[in-house]
Symmetry: C2
Amino acid sequence: MKNITIYDVAKKAGVSPSTVSRVMGSSNHPVSENVRSKILRVAKELNYIPNIQARGLKTQNNASVGVIIPSIDNPFYPQLVRGMSDVAVGHGFSIYLSNCDREYALTDLQVQTMLEHNIKGILSVYIDRTTPSLEQFVERGGILVSLCGRNFAYPGAYNFQTDKVREAEIAVEHLISLGHKKIALIINEINCQIRADKLQGYRQALQKSGIAFNERYLYVYQEEADLADNTKNGDADRGRASVQMLLERSPEVTAILCMNDIMALGVCAELRNRKIRVPEEYSVMGFDDSFFSEFTNPSLTTVALEKYEWGKTLMQFMIDRLEALPDRSDSREVPNDLLVPVHLVERESTGVPRTDNLVIRP
Amino acid sequence: MKNITIYDVAKKAGVSPSTVSRVMGSSNHPVSENVRSKILRVAKELNYIPNIQARGLKTQNNASVGVIIPSIDNPFYPQLVRGMSDVAVGHGFSIYLSNCDREYALTDLQVQTMLEHNIKGILSVYIDRTTPSLEQFVERGGILVSLCGRNFAYPGAYNFQTDKVREAEIAVEHLISLGHKKIALIINEINCQIRADKLQGYRQALQKSGIAFNERYLYVYQEEADLADNTKNGDADRGRASVQMLLERSPEVTAILCMNDIMALGVCAELRNRKIRVPEEYSVMGFDDSFFSEFTNPSLTTVALEKYEWGKTLMQFMIDRLEALPDRSDSREVPNDLLVPVHLVERESTGVPRTDNLVIRP
DNA sequence: CTGAAAGCGCTAACAT
DNA sequence: ATGTTAGCGCTTTCAG
């Protein structure tokens, strides 16, 4: 049971394989209209299926773009990836998705695989450790577009920086404007740039308002083996655990800023367990405006990102470069107004600080 | 700038290309130990990158498995896909992910693309409209494993059926055991098998308890243009809208069963808006045990599925068949104990029905 | 506008 | 245990 090839189509249509190729592929070589339509008809009759692998082998190309994210099983990414996928599919591309858990070795391995597949575009999100394969990839002319990858600054990479520092500032400023002065930050281990940036934004906003940074209000959750458990999303539990600690160590705090909305959800759940009201006793706030944040009780104040739009923009940017491939001359500068800016979404979980300064003990 | 090929490696190692091929690929042809290690060393020195496309062209194969789901941007799927991805990657496979939105034309197109890529395995989840490409795919010897795809019953497809009917029964039985007799069901348009099954399970459980099915308690949300808006997850809003209708049409209901947890979240949010308490006035329940359901207020009673485990199992099943490819003789019967069963997770959103039978008017 | 022919990099008979 | 060789199906000069 042999495959139908352009040769079969050519023979039946009474033309040469090259002509068939020109019609089936994305060539701009001229072909007369009646020959073209005849080929198309015959191809349909024969149920011809182009062989993409053969094409890729010949053209040294691959119509997939590699997408590297920490994990699709983190509510931040599905929308982003969906945005990417929608524009990719619209342009005849597909996505090669890698869940790398921010792990160095795994990232390297996955990029290696992309190299083996002749992938020419990699979109990397919130990953900042570059790897040998990745460098090799750009050396070989691959197009690397990274979102918030701080160490990707070698030539050849397009580096989108969304301002995570500013993002955190917006949150803290909101809290301060409400009257809060003792603001805790719960965040996972500072092992990537976006977290470092958020921490910096937190400190910066405090400073601007003349509030001293208090180390005791900083809760950095050390990730351990629990990360390996892909069965559940750990951030909520980490929020839970951290708030227990907070209630011991710095109950005088009046607002709790969480690394993301999932963590904020965990924090709210734990407070509720202990019959502590949000926002009356503690204001709680997250980041990302995850899809559930509007519907929780209390609904979550958060800083929103247009994830779906960002995904689309990033992929469009990538495809523009990919399709202009031969032109290696354009600058690696990235227009910084491409991504729609973040904004505060004020909902129920934040309010004025409680007036007493009693230490609340559950 | 030419690529390094097995020929280059062969020359430098002083062996033939075939030997290199046998070492680099997954051949079981014997190669002496010192030749092997020498080749490996030289390959590393030369920074040899195997060309997967060439291999695929030759072997008529592709180490990707196609995964067709409605949308990754629906909280049900990320965990499932993560499970699939983890076992795939562990076996040297990768995933070709398709968000088909249950759309016929798009599904067909995506499968067509998989065909063009020489993909030999397709995993299809909660999709029950088969398409010409899909049939062509199995005709050509492709392995199709579908989860709850009712119309995939043609020979050549492996059909995992999780019992959606039973799943709904479990939910309704729980509600009945609590004392509820007037139970509403909010569900999206019955345009796929899993929804039809849930509806059937709902009716069946009522019947078993001698409770008459009441058409007025059935809220079928007709999906319209809103589906096209990929910007947000519509189910929560649909839950919201439906509960407004419910409060008009059948406020005497005491329990509200929702198609999934997102919808339940929307329902709870709307009830809360109207100062109606859950579960005191209305019990609310969903399906899927989404990651947030444990943390909402009230936390959601739901029917849990082991999404991550299911994904792993499904992919393992697929890879087993793929690696045994030549053996087309095995039966298409699917062991029905492979997927871990669903189970009830009782949390705060359900309780005994309110005792009065007053019509609540917000 | 169309055709002939070379070759992308690999694997798998088949030979040795 | 190793080598030779013939394609897999396509695109793309180059020639007409």
